[in-house]
Amino acid sequence: MMAASVIEIAPKVLKPEALMTEFRRTAKDAGAVVSFTGIVRSEPGDDPVLALNLQTYPGYTDRMVADHVSSARARWTVTNVLVHHRTGRVEAGEAIVLVAVAARHRQAAFLATDYLMDQLKSRTPLWKQEIRRSGTRWIEPRGADADDLARWDRPHGVGSLS
């Protein structure tokens, strides 16, 4: 079985359906394919979110995402991994991130996908700004994000298959 990781941190528009078709084509021996797509919420109301802006640390952001994928591979037996994260301006309703994992069995695929999303949210050099008509503000992690991250550090918690 060939193990391949595709990582793309770039401004170009993310097309999850096309990427997943290609991903499934390359993940031939997988019994399980799990994916997560993150979409910019508009939060309709008097002052909806028009777009997000993603700032990156060129070079370093890519390296950290590669490290997270390596960590996921060290913890779970998975074959193909795909991480696409948009940078720059992303309009409300557009996909901002796609994570996909193929494995022989579903538990590893689910856990690795969940783990990678938590690392992308809080431990990756990306900084999100919310753009509304009223102005722009930097998004900082919520308490729930810290709890999500902590799950992976517990020795015999959700990260373990034993």
């Binding site: 993150g38 993603l54 700032q55 640390y57 070079g59 370093y60 390296r63 994260h85 901002i96 991130v97 999303m117 992308l120 949210k121 809080s122 431990r123 990756t124 050099p125 990306l126 900084w127 999100k128 930097w138 998004i139 900082e140 992690p141």
Partner: protein, 81 residues
């Protein structure tokens, strides 16, 4: 000259670019204090405890050494995904 970069909320008040770090400054803590003294607008954000540093691509602590050949980034909490 060291290369200084600012990300997140700090990028609103700091300008990326080369900085000549005075020879007496040895650590991230020293550099931070010096930057705050030199620029009150930058200092107002930089002095917050949630602002961290990366030195040459590695997460740094307050006592991490810095020098004029380093790339040093100051950043507010990461938020991606």
């Amino acid at each position: 000259m060291a290369n200084l970069l600012y990300f997140g909320r700090v990028s609103d008040v700091g300008v990326d670019g080369p900085v000549d770090i005075p020879s007496g400054l040895k650590t991230v803590r020293d550099l931070r204090r010096w930057l705050c003294e030199g620029d009150p607008g930058l200092g107002a954000v930089l002095r917050e405890t949630t602002i961290k540093a990366i030195v040459n691509g590695d997460i740094a602590a307050d006592d991490t050494r810095v020098s004029n050949t380093d790339e040093i980034a100051f950043f507010s909490p990461m938020s991606g995904g």
